[in-house]
Symmetry: C2
Subunit: 160 residues, 2 copies
């Protein structure tokens, strides 16, 4: 049997609540930039580094700040209207790195479509941020569609 | 225009090649445990902490080492044969954290099916590892299917 002891120095910072607030504020800027299709604001959220990595839903990884920025320009050009409602947001902090996982409930509308016609979908995303001299930046993002039927249950009891 | 200067102290370790080797070794143990359906080996790869987070393809996040272990037990119980061929592996290191993104080319076979009948699929995964006193451990994993048609191109030139 392997040892199942504590994993040692992998601790969060002393000011965990403040850190979580800072991380959440950067995430909020990310979604605001996405919803308003503000490419400059979107770029400013990301780490300006060749380590920046983004996996858009159904896509292969895009790597490096320049390529990630171009990918967002493409996404924004093809998304007339978009609104996010986040649920199940979890922020885990480890030193100068934080991982945020959440469910993104997405409301979309086609340009020129009837005003009462909306599409809705659900994606799940993992967002890893790092603390830099200029504040927290988005380092890695992976977003994927949620399948209509959940094939996995992590031991949660079902009501019926 | 926002400043686009260097992001400061977000640096990799001095021994970057050695670190990448250690991280890759843990990933190799992860895939070996998955392929051989060795649940103890799988659990030993993960951070033994409530921050462990795993997004299986098409699923919602599973959080905490205990729930993540149970989810792997379920996956393994429903996967008779599985082989991974990794391509496009990229390891980015930031201090005591590393992010590995790759394409997983998966070969599967149904139990009791004809010997020459295989299924093949492609998933893309992001794996975030942290350095602990007991070595690198898998902290966050997010895996998702690759859509048959790529709707995003990050500025790569196409041949035709």
């Amino acid at each position: 049997m392997p040892e199942r002891a504590e994993d040692g120095p992998f601790e969060g910072p002393d000011d965990l609540d403040a850190t979580r607030g800072q991380v959440r504020a950067v995430l909020d800027r990310f979604y605001a930039a996405f919803e308003s299709a503000d490419l400059d604001a979107m770029r400013s959220v990301w780490l300006d580094d060749d380590r920046a990595t983004c996996v858009h839903p159904g896509a292969l990884p895009v790597r490096g700040a320049a390529a990630v920025g171009r990918s967002w320009a493409l996404v924004m050009a093809n998304t007339p209207y978009l609104q996010f409602i986040l649920t199940d947001v979890d922020i885990a902090v480890a030193g100068d790195t934080a991982s945020v996982s959440c469910t993104e409930n997405v409301l979309t509308a086609e340009e020129g479509g009837p005003l009462d016609s909306f599409g809705a979908g659900q994606t799940v995303s993992t967002n890893v941020l790092v603390r830099t001299e200029r504040g927290w930046r988005l380092w890695v993002r992976h977003s994927s569609p949620v399948a209509p039927v959940q094939v996995l249950s992590a031991g949660d009891d079902q009501d019926e």
